[in-house]
């Protein structure tokens, strides 16, 4: 909210405190100053000028040539306004000034052959009014050379303060002044009210009845008769304008003024439009319609608190008045409403109606139930001052069950323990007193206080500790430099994923983070997604059930900028329903931690040492295996063919009979959906399952002391024979001397015969305890060849 320092100084002495100091200390104490607007800044290099001479411009009929004095010297100024005349005191902007209305910086210019050193300004040019008929003529008593800001009274400083939701009490100038006074140790006071009420009694003219006293604990109705609705006086308009409010008429302006003065929202009803001159506070009938001040028809709910007269609704309580009872130019008699409404009731209604007003904003945060009467009187006084009329004596103060003063206390040693710093007892008591707490009792151990009605956020000891600490100053509490660290077990639940990331980096993959929210069409293609109740847009209405769409979208984005060779990975959560029921527990859905890796384009593009090599299926498979070997070294895994609609060539990974991941070549139809026209190889690993695998225990094995013997062999066999079957067969046919089989060449050619291929394998033999003899190797080797020849109808390739 905006705070005008001129306005503020009505309640607290702010003299001698620099704006920098105000911003610094107030911000640190919890009322963050986000912006400082110095009105005077707009009028730099502008002064009160005396027009010494004004004659016709020799070369232009509509222009005048003037001599303007700024208190020191004379300036030639060309002026286009018809009303300029010698002897006037005017708003004179010198060379270098910036005109507020258009931001132009004045320079020395030649107009129709005559020099002009500055400008005589209109109200509109100065940004202080609408008048553009002619120049602004100032009070003749002003001395030339006075700064224009001072002359116009535009030297206010307005600060924009961000008020946290707990501090409803600071949403007014008086509330802000109270904190200010406590922080700077200044005196603070409420303005005095003198009412001069008439003999007639309010209660004879208007009646107030509270039906729902839980939602409306207090309602004050104050009557002023015979007012004249007109423009507000200058001082009032200026105050409202300084904080960015548009003046409307005297009565409405007064209610707004009191709202920003003390934080109590008021409403002024045209008493003559209140049937039976009566206010009834009760809940609406479900489905009832009501037209609010903004001319919109609202449908009400039975939980909405309404202000009614004897016959109809006249306002949505605490939110917005109705068109049917608003103050108009014809209004003569008014009823001022000053009430305390239940915060959560107002919040529900305002939220349901999608309406947030200055009033509802304050009511839902909690207003001061002790200020209602004062605020009504203050408004009556100001209305009488600005609109005339008579204030009826007394007021209808419906307050069926007054609130008790809430009490709490704070132990001095607890303050020290929480803060780690000792604040003197006298200081603690003085801060609480300054903030408006009533000191009920102080002994050596604690201070007991009564909580003022405007502090709904204070209830417990810890709340008082915060008040003391923030006003005392957080920066006076030292920053401890040595901390003690517990020797408790150290856990890092993120370390597994970190290892995966490191491995993928070393394999050349870039990490991506994609949106977890998808549109329904995409989301439903990839799983059984969960819908967001209040999405930002239909493009982001469902939680991703799979990591694949994010990857495909990422590839698609890059293809659009001609980046075609990509290796991406993402680690993230997917979300899937388990059933059609509404989610009512964590058992109704799966949230899974996943890794997706994706390859597309070329792994190598022609270089001087190598030829183009596109990424292929075997790159993907090898990468998956590399990841496993890194995070679960020595743990056995199984890669098998699989079926999944997302992949054309599909394989899955399992460890200890649990499927951990699936992937392959991404399905062509999906690629098209994302506008991708090149193959993508992708694999998705369920990290929760992978993490659950107990890693093989690492045991050192003696280094081999005896030589290894290698034998190469190549078989010609049918193309359809799978290599893993051949390898499996070799393992079975050989003795335990064979330790490693490496497939080092696959070759297809007509020379081998139609439908044939050659598989070349290197076999590694050794024994850990001795050197092998030629004979035993030869025996194994023979068995292997025989078995493969027999089982696969293979032929040993000539060598």
């Amino acid at each position: 909210m905006k705070i005008s320092l001129n306005w503020l100084s009505d309640y607290v002495d702010i003299s001698g405190i620099s704006i920098d100091s105000i911003v610094d200390k107030i911000s640190k104490a919890g009322l963050e100053v986000e912006e400082v607007i110095e009105q005077g800044k707009a009028f730099e290099k502008m002064f009160v000028g005396l027009v010494k001479e004004a004659k016709k411009h020799p070369n232009a009929d509509k222009l005048s040539l003037c001599i303007v004095n700024d208190g020191n010297e004379d300036f030639n100024v060309v002026c286009g306004a018809p009303n300029v005349a010698a002897g006037q005191k005017v708003a004179f902007a010198k060379v270098g000034a910036v005109i507020p209305s258009n931001g132009l910086k004045l320079e020395k210019v030649k107009i129709r052959g005559e020099f002009s050193f500055g400008m005589i300004c209109s109200e509109k040019e100065l940004g202080i009014g609408e008048n553009h008929e002619g120049i602004l003529v100032l009070d003749p008593n002003l001395k030339e050379g006075t700064s224009l800001a001072d002359a116009l009274g535009m030297n206010d400083i307005v600060i924009y303060v961000a008020i946290t939701p707990n501090r409803a009490d600071a949403l007014s100038h008086i509330g802000f002044a109270r904190d200010f006074a406590a922080i700077f140790k200044r005196k603070f006071h409420y303005p005095k009210i003198e009412l001069n009420e008439s003999g007639k009694k309010s209660s004879d003219v208007a009646k107030v009845e509270i039906v729902d006293s839980e939602k409306c604990p207090r309602y004050v109705g104050k009557v002023v008769l015979g007012v004249t609705i007109k423009e507000s006086p200058e001082w009032l308009k200026k105050k409202l304008k300084s904080i960015g409010l548009r003046p409307i008429n005297n009565v409405v302006d007064v209610t707004n003024f009191v709202l920003y003065e003390v934080g109590q929202p008021l409403h002024a009803f045209d008493l003559d439009n209140l049937a039976g001159n009566k206010i009834v506070v009760k809940c609406a009938n479900e489905g009832e319609k009501f037209v609010t001040l903004d001319s919109k028809e609202r449908v009400l709910a039975a939980s909405d608190l309404m202000i009614c007269d004897a016959a109809k609704n006249v306002a949505v309580a605490g939110v917005m008045g109705g068109e049917n009872s608003e103050v108009t130019e014809k209004t003569k008699n008014i009823l001022i409403e000053s009430a305390f409404f239940n915060p959560s009731s107002i919040r529900k209604t305002a939220k349901r109606l999608g309406l947030s007003t200055d009033a509802s904003f304050r009511f839902e945060r909690g207003t001061d139930y002790n200020i209602t009467l004062w605020a009504a009187q203050r408004a009556a006084q100001l209305i009488k001052e600005t609109a005339g009329g008579e204030i009826l004596s007394g007021e209808k103060d419906a307050y069926p069950s007054p609130f008790d003063v809430r009490k709490t206390s704070a132990r001095f040693n607890r303050i020290n323990k929480i803060l780690g710093y000792k604040i003197e007892q006298e200081e603690v008591v003085s801060i609480l007193k300054d903030l408006g707490f009533t000191i009920e009792e102080v002994d050596s151990e604690k201070v007991s206080v009564g909580i003022p009605g405007y502090r709904h956020d204070i209830e417990r000891e810890i709340d008082l500790i915060e008040e003391v600490a923030r006003v005392y100053g957080y920066d006076k509490i030292p920053d401890i430099v040595n901390i003690s660290v517990t020797l408790d077990e150290k856990i890092d639940q993120a370390s597994f994923n970190d290892r995966v990331r490191n491995k993928l980096n070393s394999l050349g993959f870039y990490e991506i983070i994609t949106n977890s929210l998808l549109n329904s069409e995409i989301a439903e293609k990839f799983g059984y997604p969960i819908k967001v109740l209040n999405p930002q847009s239909s493009e982001m209405s469902h939680l991703r059930p799979s990591m694949l769409p994010g990857l495909l979208q990422s590839v698609s984005n890059n293809l659009k900028v001609s980046e075609k060779n990509l290796k991406f990975f993402e680690i993230g959560k997917t979300f899937e329903r388990k059933n059609d029921k509404e989610i009512s527990s964590f058992e109704d859905f799966d949230e899974t931690d996943n890794l997706i890796i994706g390859l597309t384009g070329y792994s190598i593009q022609t270089e001087w040492f190598d030829k183009d090599k596109p990424h292929d299926f075997y790159d993907l498979k090898g990468m998956v295996e590399s990841i496993l070997r890194t995070v679960l070294p020595g743990t056995g895994y199984l890669i098998q063919e699989a079926n999944h609609s997302n992949f054309d060539l599909c394989f899955c990974l399992s460890i200890q009979n649990v499927t951990i991941g699936i992937g392959g070549k991404v399905n062509q139809t999906l690629l098209k959906l994302f506008d991708v026209n090149q193959d993508i190889f992708a694999f998705i690993i369920n990290l929760d399952k992978l993490k659950a695998v107990k890693p093989a225990e690492k045991v050192f094995s003696e280094l081999l002391k005896f030589p290894k013997v290698y034998r190469d062999v190549a078989f010609v066999l049918d193309k359809t024979v799978r290599s893993d079957k051949v390898i499996e067969n070799i393992k079975q046919a050989s003795s335990n001397l064979l330790h490693q089989i490496k497939l080092f060449d696959i070759f297809q050619s007509d020379s081998l015969g139609e439908g044939k291929k050659s598989l070349a394998l290197q076999l590694e033999f050794y024994h850990v305890e001795r050197t092998l003899t030629e004979n035993e190797i030869e025996k194994d080797f023979r068995n292997i060849i025989e078995s493969v020849e027999k089982n696969f109808n293979a032929q040993l390739r000539g060598n």
């Binding site: 911000s27 963050e32 050349g508 949106n515 209040n534």
Partner: protein, 330 residues
């Protein structure tokens, strides 16, 4: 026989001295050392040597064999290294080296890692939690009353009345304290969601890192000291900072920490970097920890904004677009 051996040695030395290229070296090898060369032949002749001579001749023969082989090897080595260096000189070292592909962690991950590193040094453990959370864990347990404006501070994506996408990492605090009794020193990084329109300034998701310490003698002064230590390590020792009183339902007293940000050629300003405070007693009660016995502090910060500021990125969307031209830069 013995004279033949010494004769051979003399001849070998003569021939050796004449070797001046690889070709003559090979001729030398063929002549003396190959299977049919002079030295192996002498070994063949050895069969015919009489018993008496065998010992002496055998020694001499072996000596000859070792001598010739060593001489040959040493001269061959000389030629080999010569020929190699002549090959090296044909290399064009200006040719580009073979480029091995590199990847990188996402800028956000890198920033989280950097922060994690600092706090791990201060004895913090790292915990994670789910993103789809219960309303209770995200709000209720953290002392956000129902129907309170405090809930407006965080625009929320709801799944239904009781489930939502977590708006902060703080529910991980709740989960942790429900499971583990103090002492607790925990750091909780993760993804969070806010129901905001996507623009250069805001995105529907971002990352946070949260800290929680609960023990018997924890103080506000220690919280301040720890965070000052952190910002000095993260932003540099000469960072200018301030603590400002603030409001979070789950801490009291609460503060925000600002650092003074001075972009080149622009006006400096205070920049909010984290929120913190002493764990509200209501939160401790909600998770079954006695607030009279234990005191806690907590802090939380966004990752995207400091990372963007550090590298001069002014549009948050680029972080989530996976543009390889962006990713390659980090």
């Amino acid at each position: 026989m013995l004279s033949k051996i010494s004769e051979t040695r003399k001849l070998f030395e003569e021939d050796l001295s004449k070797v001046n290229d690889l070709k003559s070296l090979e001729e030398l090898r063929l002549k003396y050392l190959s299977r049919k060369g002079i030295v192996p032949q002498l070994f063949d002749d050895f069969k015919n040597v009489s018993k008496d001579e065998k010992k002496n001749v055998g020694l001499a023969l072996n000596e000859l064999k070792i001598f010739t082989q060593n001489q040959f090897d040493s001269i061959k080595e000389k030629f080999d290294s010569l020929s190699k260096s002549s090959n090296d000189s044909e290399l064009d070292i200006s040719l580009p080296g073979r480029q091995y592909q590199i990847g990188s962690k996402h800028l956000i991950t890198q920033t989280i890692d950097e922060i994690k590193e600092i706090f791990k040094g201060l004895g913090f453990s790292v915990y994670e939690g789910p993103e789809l959370e219960s309303d209770y864990n995200n709000f209720g347990a953290l002392n956000f009353p129902d129907d309170h404006p405090a809930r407006d501070m965080q625009d929320t994506f709801f799944i239904n009345k009781n489930f939502l996408l977590r708006t902060h990492t703080s529910p991980v605090q709740v989960r942790l304290m429900e499971q583990k009794k103090p002492p607790i020193r925990a750091l909780m990084p993760g993804k969070v969601f806010r129901n905001e329109a996507i623009s250069a300034k805001s995105y529907c998701l971002f990352h946070q890192i949260e800290g929680l310490v609960v023990d018997t003698d924890i103080t506000f002064a220690e919280l301040k000291g720890t965070l000052v230590g952190f910002v000095k390590q993260f932003f540099g020792q000469d960072v200018v900072y301030r603590f400002r009183a603030s409001f979070f339902p789950f801490t009291e007293p609460s503060a925000e920490m600002d650092i003074w940000w001075q972009p080149k050629g622009k006006e400096g300003r205070w920049l909010e970097i984290l929120g913190c405070g002493m764990v509200d007693p209501n939160v401790l009660i909600n998770v079954g920890i006695d607030p009279e016995k234990y005191i806690g502090y907590a802090f939380g910060m966004g990752i995207e904004r400091p990372a963007m500021r550090k590298y001069g990125i002014d549009d948050i969307r680029i972080l989530f677009d996976s543009d390889i031209r962006f990713l390659r830069q980090f």
